[in-house]
Amino acid sequence: MSANKPAKAKPKPIDRRRFLQDTARAAAGCAVAGMAISHLATDARALPARAIRPPGALPEDDFLAACIRCGLCARDCPYDTLKLAELGFDGPATGTPYFTARDIPCEMCDDIPCVVACPTGALDHSLTNIDDADMGIAVLIDQERCLNALGLRCDVCYRVCPVIDEAITLERRHNERSGHHAIFMPTVHSDACTGCGKCEKSCVLPGESAIKVLPRRIATAEAAEHYKLGWEDRNPLVDEIIDLPDRLPGPGTDNLVAPGGYLPGTEGLPDPNMDGGFTPTFKLPGTGGTGQ
């Protein structure tokens, strides 16, 4: 202590210089340390594809702002599904909860104890129906080894699914190899699959599973906005840009309302007096237009 005293008594300019030096040094040190931590923080966002967050987990960016890594979710998971990531062994940010479906999948508890236990809302408390959970999506990733894909009737992944017949169905296909059998293809539906991983856990193949839960960001593509599925969407896109006449199926079809094609007085029928306008004729080619 006393060694510092003479320094304090020194004239001011030196004090000021020293103060500025110290400040600059502290600021520079903090900048370097800060950048190192920022780097770690940014790195941690790249959650490995095989690490699945608990039900209700916020998107990874928000999750790292919210999760205090207390492990209460893991403690209250009755199946010991959830683990806290360990530095150097597991991919997710150290201490954050995750599970590996092939080891222990999420059993989709009705009361979702992990979410209830989370004190911070890193697991979103608005998730009250476990069927709404979205931990990831199962993907039949190895269609060369899946027994069902080979034409056998394994069906295990289908049968264990807690959302059976909604999240996963068996789609019947022709078995081209044998020529007269069926293939029951396990098919996952992204709107209903919760990513619990029970299918991945139960796949009978040794080692890796043929069906795997992947994060939505990897497993799903984004539908281009200008593609519309006509069979799902009755109004084709062009309707929103130009107004085409609504043409109904012609003769030979079961159109009893307007056997010729156009329904008189249909909105949007071109004015015959206009440039390019015409009077509709009821003579359509014999095959008949099928309309949209």
Binding site: M1, S2, A3, N4, D22, A26, A27, G29, C30, A31, A33, G34, I37, S38, L40, A41, T42, A44, D61, D62, L64, A65, A66, C67, I68, R69, C70, G71, L72, A74, R75, D76, K83, L84, A85, E86, L87, G88, F89, D90, A93, T94, G95, A117, C118, P119, T120, G121, A122, H125
Partner: protein, 308 residues
Amino acid sequence: MSAKTKLPVGQEAIQDKGWLKAHKYLLLRRASQMFFLGLFLLGPWFGLWWVKGNLAGSLTFDVLPLTDPFVLVQMLVAQHWPEMTAITGAVIVAVAYALIGGRVYCSWVCPINPVTDGAHWLHDKLGLAKGWQPKRNTRYWVLGMVLVVSMLTGTIAWEFVNPISMLHRGLIFGMGFAWAFVLAVFLFDLFVSRRGWCGHLCPVGAFYGLLGARPVLRVSATERAACDDCMDCFAVCPEMHVITPALRGSEDDTPIITSQDCTNCGRCIDVCAPQVFRFTTAFDTTPAPARAARPASPKKPSKASRAA
């Protein structure tokens, strides 16, 4: 006096008060540190789930939520508004430390404290130079840096490196390579900077220091008139600059150690043979005559200079 100066730190107190009394608060502190760690380990080791979680957030007897307020502040800066549970927990912890002294966390609870104390002990044994000594306010710079990084990255930034959580969570949930952070702190304190981590850098300590800057529980040099300049308290105090104003103050200066850096560890009480120090409250107004003025005494060579 000159005969005494040859004695190792605390030797005189041991002679006068007995070994146990000369280590009272050190032993109590170790017991407290083990107690708080033990509570968390009852579950994973013995299946007794009284306390679940870790120092960042916990639930005791399924009713009492506790949250580390520093973690919560980082969360808020990172723009996540938590559930009420976390806020309640943080308020309870904050109020408790505001009353008993923020840095009581450092010396009575934090699991890194035995590590840095160990490094200091070895440092003394090996007679190493004190090394790099950053300014006392460096920890506030680090604190500010952590909050800025939390804000910019939108994460609870300190938890990526915090050796406290690494150790505590590691012991309770599984360590992985997290021990590397703990070893780094130990080596830093041993070879790079004497008492460097807890005394100069740790932003958690800085935060708790600010949080409990005006606590009720305090250490006071009430009997400062009896001080015989052995300098042992300076040698053991992890924040020795806090002692001077109280111990060397004049009649009008309060004998109470008022610095927010004081960790209320009570080690000065232990090692003082004339029993100058004691725990008291901030409202204690017991008159404390200053030490009689005396000529500048020759400095003790080794320990005292290191205390500076």
